[in-house]
């Protein structure tokens, strides 16, 4: 009896919590409303099943509780019922999968007019590279990375000189512009995650990964790392600012290119490998982040 009541209360309480707790999605800022929709569809279908099974179980526990004069039924199988349940479940699965895979098809199909932005992750900071006026990013190679060429850009690539480099500053994105995020890591796995954008993807050293989105709302949003990347993982933060066209252009004008920031490297003059000194400043900076966070 007590157990049956507790089960009913858990079912009812879960529904109440779902609708009235203060914890829910952050307001979306990208085109991936289909992800929220898929979650809501999943909640509807599975929620009904969840509550139905619990309530039925509570009913059985109450109705068929042990009594001296009771004898259980003997029914080894009921093929009809079992098949019926199989098909109902299969229908539910199709109901979940169909909208999910349709939306996934959008996710894997990057629009042709998407602008490319590159995110470069390293322990534990975010840097970015934008194509210059030519609209193309120059080739990179991790072996070219040095103090004088922190992105490892290949100076022999004619597309490289006008690439815009953003180091240690906020990333700006234009409103309503489809964007293909190219993701690159120089050390371990990271994951570029902006909760309001919904979409996220790992950065994997040795390869370039990607995802796309269209920012749909101006504002400043936190960038977090969502793939464990060492002791500074939780402190690997950044900010992305979505601007309307005018503000974005204004910001873009003030950014510096590879050629202006690193004229030697852009001219193809080689440098020794990245020194420890720079890394030490990075580490100190992160220790400070840790302490500020405390």
């Amino acid at each position: 009896m007590v157990l049956a009541i507790v089960l009913v209360l858990l079912a009812v309480g879960s529904v109440i919590f779902h609708f009235w707790s203060p914890w829910w999605f952050t307001p979306i800022a990208s085109n991936w409303g289909s992800m929220d929709d898929a979650i809501n569809i999943t909640f509807a279908i599975t929620g009904v099943a969840y509550i139905a099974v619990i309530l039925f179980m509570a009913y059985c526990i109450y109705k068929y509780r042990h009594r001296e004069d009771r004898r259980a039924d003997y029914e080894p199988e009921n093929t009809k019922l079992e098949w019926w349940l199989t098909w109902v479940t299969a229908a539910g699965v199709v109901g979940l999968l169909t909208p999910g895979l349709i939306a996934w098809n959008d996710f894997v199909t990057v629009p042709e007019d998407a602008a490319e932005f590159e995110v470069v992750g390293s322990q534990w900071e975010w840097n970015y590279r934008l194509p210059g006026k030519d609209g193309k990013l120059g080739k990179t190679n991790i072996k070219l990375i040095s103090d004088d060429n922190p992105f490892g850009i290949n100076p022999k690539d004619p597309n490289a000189r006008d690439d815009i480099l953003i180091e240690g500053e906020d990333l700006h994105l234009p409103l309503n512009q489809p964007i293909k995020m190219l993701l690159r890591s120089v050390d371990v796995l990271h994951d570029f995650y902006v909760p309001q954008f919904r979409a996220k993807m790992d950065l994997v050293p040795g390869m370039v990964t990607f995802f796309w989105l269209t920012p749909t709302r101006t504002g400043t949003f936190d960038i977090l790392c969502a793939e464990l990347c060492g002791v500074g993982h939780h402190a690997m933060r950044g900010s992305v600012i979505v601007d309307d066209k005018a503000a974005y252009q204004k910001w873009l004008q003030s950014q510096k290119t590879f050629a202006t920031l690193y004229p030697k490297a852009a001219a193809g003059i080689k440098q020794a490998a990245k020194s420890d000194a720079k890394m030490k400043t990075v580490l100190t900076a992160n220790t400070q982040i840790n302490e500020e966070g405390k």
């Binding site: 042990h66 936190d222 464990l228």
Partner: protein, 603 residues
């Protein structure tokens, strides 16, 4: 039909296998320490697993202290926090759950339930335990080496797991990998034993379709483990080579601390594929034995046959098979080719069908039953609810488009704790309350059991149900502290405090449970041979606890399936599997012989 095929009327005589003498111990060392009796090995496995599991439990408290009260505990820094995370996960999944379900319950229950004297290779069985113990010791030592235990996360993703910036790359990760390799070696010896015993050593009359579902669950889970662990084994060895000899299986070119490493062209994704090719079946290595145990306990305590036995068997087999083609659903955001998402989302959601059927059949077993709300039954009902909850959130994460926003958030943490933390642990409790009387001859204390049940069940629901919603907010997992953000409301900190307090309360209830076990071994109410009036063979032994060799002079002969509860026309509400049809007492009105199995089983 003269072309060598058998005539229809020809009878094939049963193969008579002479009994092989067991090695009977003469000294206390061979009786209690280096013992070949599966039941003693089972208890050794269980005790070791529970002890190291308690270490894992304490680590979870430390993690929760940090998450609930981020600025209070000075001794927890980011480094140690990630070490707690890593060791907690690895201990709980491998060294507690896998070892306890297969090494513990597998060893105890398989020979007894199939009517065998012991495992078929008792000596190898003994070695299996000692290698497992060595693995546990090596893992434990890693806490104390310079640099401490690994802090790479239990998934040990390279390059991070073995490169600067991660705790424990000097000794911790090496010992972790060595320990895993040892564990797999030990498990393989035990696992081969379980499979061969089920296939070769069943009592006369114990057909596969008469086996209790517990045996089916452990049997299929062991086959999964024998096929899945090699993937982890090679991944572990390759990572050891990368770490110790400087090979580059998983290590690409990278710049660490300003220096180019000597690694070249390795693939971090290859490790993830190998890890999850093991890691996903691992979920079912833990879940399938739990499914089986729950089926048997529900049936016994509801005095009703398990509903849809054949469906239950085939669902176990189907889930086991499907579990090998869903692994990359753990990798939707890994950067693998996104088109894989279509395939793995589909296979993953298909698994929901046989799993849901098992769920329905448990509940339908309760329907029209005669339900005794004993402690094992209470835990099984709690399992159904918890597993249902965790299974449903699996439908969220399996559906690739839904996984993208939720992946690597607290939603995932809540999901997998519900489905493969709390749910199997509830089954372990159910199983201990159910079989403890057979193992010790004494009952566990009912009142303390009630206390333990209510705190554990409600407490863990209150811990994990709200935690999903932190994931919706966007709180990432594996964060030492969330710090300042614009999107996490201050109320989330209050929720975190609440969860931490609940964790400590639930933890305290486990102390009561441990005390209950220890005291009941000596002072519990005597249980008798068959306190639950159960049908399966382990309850029909000549002595309780059963001696070496399990059964008396004669091995049991099996006449029917394990679910002959409340049969019409039979006086008692259960008929043991080994009771000859002639001895079954009929009700006054019933005539004719007692049906053995339900006819469907022989279709």
């Amino acid at each position: 039909m003269s072309n060598g095929m058998l005539e229809e009327t020809q009878v094939i005589p049963l193969a008579e296998v002479e009994e092989v003498d067991l090695y009977h111990a003469h000294h206390w060392i061979t009786k209690y320490v280096f013992c070949q009796d599966a039941k003693v090995i089972a208890i050794q496995y269980s005790a070791t697993a529970i002890l190291i599991g308690l270490v894992g439990l304490v680590l979870s408290w430390l993690m929760r202290l940090q998450l609930g009260f981020p600025e209070v505990f000075d001794f927890i820094d980011a480094e140690s926090y990630y070490q707690y995370v890593t060791m907690h996960g690895m201990i709980m999944v491998i060294y507690l759950l896998t070892a306890l379900f297969l090494g513990g319950f597998g060893n105890y229950l398989i020979p007894l339930m199939v009517g065998a004297r012991d495992m078929v290779f008792p000596y190898m069985n003994m070695i299996s335990y000692w290698v497992y113990l060595l693995a546990v010791i090596v893992l434990t030592v890693s806490f104390f080496v310079p640099g401490g235990a690994s802090g790479a996360g239990w998934t040990l993703y390279p390059p991070q797991a073995i490169s600067e910036g991660t705790p424990g790359i000097d000794g911790g990760i090496i010992l972790m990998l060595v320990s895993l390799v040892l564990f797999i070696i030990g498990f393989t010896m035990g696992g081969l034993n379980y499979v061969v015993t089920v296939l070769q050593a069943r009592a006369r009359g114990m057909t596969l379709m008469r086996m209790p579902l517990t045996v089916w669950g452990i049997f299929v889970a062991t086959i999964l483990a024998l096929l899945a662990f090699p993937a982890l084994f090679v991944a572990g060895v390759m990572m050891l080579l990368d770490r110790v000899l400087g090979t580059s299986f998983f290590m690409p070119e990278m710049i660490v601390q300003g220096e180019m490493t000597s690694h070249e062209n390795g693939s971090p994704l290859l490790f993830q594929h190998l890890f999850w090719f093991f890691g996903h079946p691992e979920v079912y290595i833990v879940a399938l034995p739990a499914f089986g145990v729950v089926s048997d306990i529900i049936s016994t305590h509801a005095r009703k046959n398990i509903f849809g036995y054949r469906m239950m068997v085939w669902a176990i087999v189907a889930i086991g098979g499907l579990s090998f083609i869903v692994w990359a659903h753990h990798m939707y955001v890994s950067g693998m080719n996104p088109y894989f998402g279509f395939f793995f989302a589909t296979t993953t959601l298909i698994i929901a069908v046989p799993t849901a059927l098992k769920m329905y059949n448990w509940v339908l077993t309760l329907y029209k039953g005669n339900i005794h709300l004993s402690i094992p039954m209470l835990f099984c009902i709690a399992f159904i609810l918890t597993f249902l909850n965790g299974g449903i959130t699996g439908l969220f994460l399996g559906n690739v488009i839904v996984d993208i926003p939720l992946s690597d958030t607290m939603f995932v943490v809540a999901h997998f704790h519900m489905v493969m933390g709390i749910a199997p642990v509830l089954v372990i409790f159910a199983a201990i309350y159910h079989w403890f009387p057979k193992m010790s001859g004494r009952m566990l204390h009912e009142g303390w059991g009630q206390f333990h049940f209510w705190i554990t069940f409600l407490g863990s629901y209150l811990i994990y149900f709200p935690m999903h919603y932190l994931g919706f907010v966007g709180v990432p997992r594996r964060y030492f502290e969330i710090g300042e953000t614009a999107f996490v409301p201050p109320s989330a900190a209050t929720l975190n405090e609440f969860i931490t307090v609940m964790v400590l309360i639930v933890g305290f209830a486990q102390v009561v449970f441990m005390a209950n076990i220890i005291i009941s071994i000596f002072k519990g109410k005597p249980a008798g041979d068959n306190p639950w009036n159960a049908t399966s063979l382990e309850w029909q032994t000549a002595t309780t606890p059963p001696g070496h060799g399990n059964f008396g002079d004669e091995l049991p002969v099996v006449y029917r399936w394990a679910y002959a509860y409340s049969m019409p026309g039979v006086e008692a509400d259960f008929v043991p599997q080994n009771m000859p049809p002639g001895e079954v007492k009929r009700t006054d009105s019933a005539t004719g012989p007692v049906a053995e199995d339900p006819p469907e089983l022989h279709q």
